[in-house]
Amino acid sequence: MNIIVCLKQTFDTEEKVIIKEGQISEDGVKFIINPYDEYALEEAICIKEKYGGVVTVISIGPTRVESALRTALAMGADKAVLVDDERLFGDESTISKVLAAVIKQQEYDLILGGYMSVDNGAAQGGARLAEELDLPHIYAALKIDVNESQVVVERDVEGDIEVLESKLPIVITAQQGLNEPRYPSLPGIMKAKRKPIQHLTVEDLSLDMKQIKAKTNIKENILPPERQAGRVLQGELNDQVVELVQLLQGEVNPNG
């Protein structure tokens, strides 16, 4: 089974966001594999361990993303592709078209990725990519069962679970709860050093540059107004509770 995992490197979720000259500052930031992509990667490795095959991780981003790809290779992916050509960066439309062009050069039965990234949070990648490749997609998977060419997926629908059936090849995006990603083992880290990371540029891909132009622009990045600490209530606990209920009267409407 040939499995492709689309992966993005993001800020660690414990990082604060600082805006410098209108841009999100990356100074001193710790980067991680987008947690949702990590679930996708773990799932890919589990499926490979069960049925055999090759796991290829693909990312678009600056050269720093190599470290995320190395981690993925150390966890058990076999090879990696990085598109680190700035001419191919853009909005969600651009990224999905570039990804599709990369994937068309690969063998694939199953394409996995996170359902969203914890930075941009647009949650467009999977569905757009599937459309570009003319494949079905399943969004926010909590359980994936592959049996030959058939897949049965449980997906999260606002807390309920929908059980879906489909066929390979397909794009499936991972929701939290799909699995518990492993840590890279020491031998895994050693092996990863010898696994290939292929770098691609615009010249390596067959793309219509007009087609991949971003259709949206970021006008500005802003920080939300800082929240002021309010008041910690004082006095006997019973009195505090009575006071709190009075303070919340406007928010809690007895009629629902």
């Binding site: 359902y115 949650a123 059980v163 939300p224």
Partner: protein
């Protein structure tokens, strides 16, 4: 500039979701006298059109086919894009719900346009339509514009206050029976897990628990409070990782980002990744044993105390206040 706006009006169990009216509100900000078309997919009550008209829709398209009575990505993408191709509007708006998140990007790719998802605000600024959306789960915001092709955006529930229009005519109803191509996914079953609760993303009030609830049973008092005040129950990553509750309840940068009117945090310390998911709530109340917990830095009101003592008292007090 007069703009024709097409909105997807989402229903749940036969009723229009509130976010559908919020999406219509966004449409009213942008149409500038232009036509607002609402699209209802699947078998729907004709009376929905009247309700949609009250919130600003001029015409309502009912797209019907038996296969549209169960949501599938392929069927809904086909249904919605066929209307878009026919109407060729200037602006397309949808709710940022499970459905919207699933098929809006697919529809955008098929139409060949950009898409700005999860918008919390939309305005016209210097003649441009500017969408505001959170990034890093609300640690920052992005103001974004569409620079080419159609304008397409999804609107996050609970952020754009909706209102009925003063004078309106009844909406023109258009029936469309659609032939569908192959649907590549089959729904085997839906396992309802949230029948007793309110959906987190649309909840006006959320009671959330953290590591301080100590066990799955520890959520009991929180659920009691939630029931009394009509709230949804949420959780921090700590509580989910400790398996006190399902990941579906997780609020934070991983998990759900919520903006209710009132957020009651019980036994939640307030890690950055949790604050990202809830600190844009309108009012925050924190209950925590530790007076130094960072959650107090973002809370409007705080009670320092054991949640197992405070929460039941609070529930009783609300009960009393409501019967008074």
């Amino acid at each position: 500039m007069v703009r024709h706006v097409v909105v997807f009006a989402e229903t749940k169990q036969g009723s229009l979701r509130n976010v559908s009216f919020e999406v219509l509100e966004a449409a009213k900000r942008l149409n500038d006298g232009g036509l607002i078309t609402a699209v209802l997919i699947g078998t729907q009550e004709q009376s929905q059109a009247d309700l949609l008209a009250e919130y600003g829709a001029h015409e309502v398209v009912f797209v019907e086919n038996k296969q549209l009575d169960t949501y599938t990505t392929d069927a809904y993408t086909q249904a919605f894009t066929s209307i878009i191709h026919e109407k060729n509007p200037d602006v397309i708006l949808m709710p940022h719900t499970a459905m919207g998140k699933d098929f809006a990007p697919r529809a955008a790719a098929r139409i060949g346009c950009g898409l700005i998802t999860d918008c919390t605000n939309v305005e016209i600024s210097d003649g441009n339509i500017v969408f505001t959306r959170p990034i890093y789960a609300g640690k920052a915001f992005q103001r974004r514009v569409v620079v080419r092709d159609q304008i397409f955006a999804t609107i996050r529930p609970n952020n754009i206050p909706c209102s009925k229009v003063d004078h309106h005519e009844s909406a023109k109803k258009i029936q469309k029976v659609l032939n569908l191509d192959e649907i590549r996914t089959t729904v085997r079953e839906v396992i309802q897990k949230t029948t007793d609760g309110v959906d987190l993303s649309e909840a006006k009030i959320i009671v959330a628990g953290g590591r301080g609830v100590k066990s799955a049973e520890g959520f009991g008092p929180l659920k009691d409070l939630a029931q009394v005040i009509g709230a949804a129950v949420g959780a921090s990553r700590g509580a989910c990782d400790a398996e006190y509750c399902d990941y579906a309840l997780q609020i934070g940068q991983t998990g759900k980002v919520v903006t209710p009117d009132l957020y009651i945090a019980c036994g939640i310390s307030g890690a950055i990744q949790h604050l990202a998911g809830m600190s844009n709530s309108k009012m925050i109340v924190a209950i925590n044993k530790d007076p130094e917990a960072p959650i107090f830095d973002v809370a409007d009101y705080g009670i320092v105390g054991d949640l197992f003592e405070v929460v039941p008292l609070l529930t009783e007090q609300f009960k009393q206040a409501m019967t008074d």
